[in-house]
Assembly symmetry: C2
Homo-oligomer: 193 residues x 2
């Protein structure tokens, strides 16, 4: 039904072919153009989202129009606003496509029935949540302790392919530094060669 | 056995008295003096920790001796290094007492048996994890978007009682600002005050 997603589940879990079919059959595919949004701030996040192709970003916008990026989600990654989804309250963030993208969406009733009915799927979901918790903890430590140079270096190590896919302003908005500082860092690196 | 903890469980869940007794009976109480540590960086975090009295902080130390604080845990809050605990790998952080403290500790085998055997305890644990995920997401947005003044204001709103309990250098180390900046912010507030 969604062959790339089924391959992903097959590779990342020991789910049976039947379970994989059941999970896949409840997904609804959406195609997004660049700048299309899954939802914007003020709306409720009603889906768990798996990225098949492309890249989404989760971000808030300041009063001055400045963007602050919480997460990039590229192919074979999951995304959502967990608080809005869990509590069914308006989100304070937006999730939009950075590139033309294809995503799979599950509504809450369907996803919960899968988590309850398929313990191995629940395990996989728990693993993904845990990995996010570890990563966000590490990112917070980096925010607290590292220089802008070190933050950029960490980003390059963690997401080497993203450098070619993202505009500089988005990398700066993810690292919490100004585009001027980021430009200076990259210029210094090029000169060191 | 541990009456304050049992009151906490009674207030925050619909656990039966039997279940509460079972959870409480597997806890080991530890008394910490100020600056005593549960574990230090390089050691493995082997316990889930509930603070009965006092306050712990989770922090890393930079090469220059500077401290970066991930979390404060005061009475009736839980703490651990989740990645070290889950994977049984050396921690990159320390958990130490800011004040004389009393904590309850569960080892992993016992805690897992409680989670598996008592579905309502598992729900409570899931809720606590979710609340931490929401809070950390909000804190990251604040780190990315807010001025030092706004970060301090957020902290005062979220943890008003902590101002009297923590040295200024620790508040600065939690907010990711210099103690000089924090002193300036507080001085400006007092003058406006």
């Amino acid at each position: 039904m969604h062959p790339e997603f089924e391959t992903y589940l097959h590779t990342h879990s020991t789910l049976t072919p039947d379970a994989i079919q059941r999970i896949s059959s409840l997904a609804v595919k959406r195609t997004l153009r660049r700048n299309d949004h899954i939802f914007t701030a003020g709306e409720i996040c009603r889906h768990k989202i798996f990225v098949l192709r492309g890249m989404l970003r989760t971000y808030s916008t300041g009063a001055d129009g400045s963007e602050h990026i919480l997460q990039f989600a590229s192919e074979t990654n999951w995304t959502l606003d967990v608080e809005s989804y869990d509590k069914e309250v308006p989100s304070i963030v937006n999730i939009g496509a950075v590139e033309p993208s294809e995503v799979l969406c599950w509504n809450k009733a369907d996803f919960n029935s899968l988590l309850t009915g398929i313990p191995q799927f629940r395990s996989l979901a728990d693993q993904i949540i845990a990995r996010n918790v570890y990563y966000n903890r590490q990112r917070m430590l980096t925010m607290l302790s590292a220089t802008p140079e070190e933050r950029y270096e960490d980003f390059v190590q963690a997401f080497p392919s993203f450098l070619l896919r993202l505009p500089l302003r988005m990398i700066a908005a993810y690292l919490g530094i100004s585009i001027k500082t980021l430009t200076r860092i990259r210029h210094a690196q090029l000169q060191r060669g």
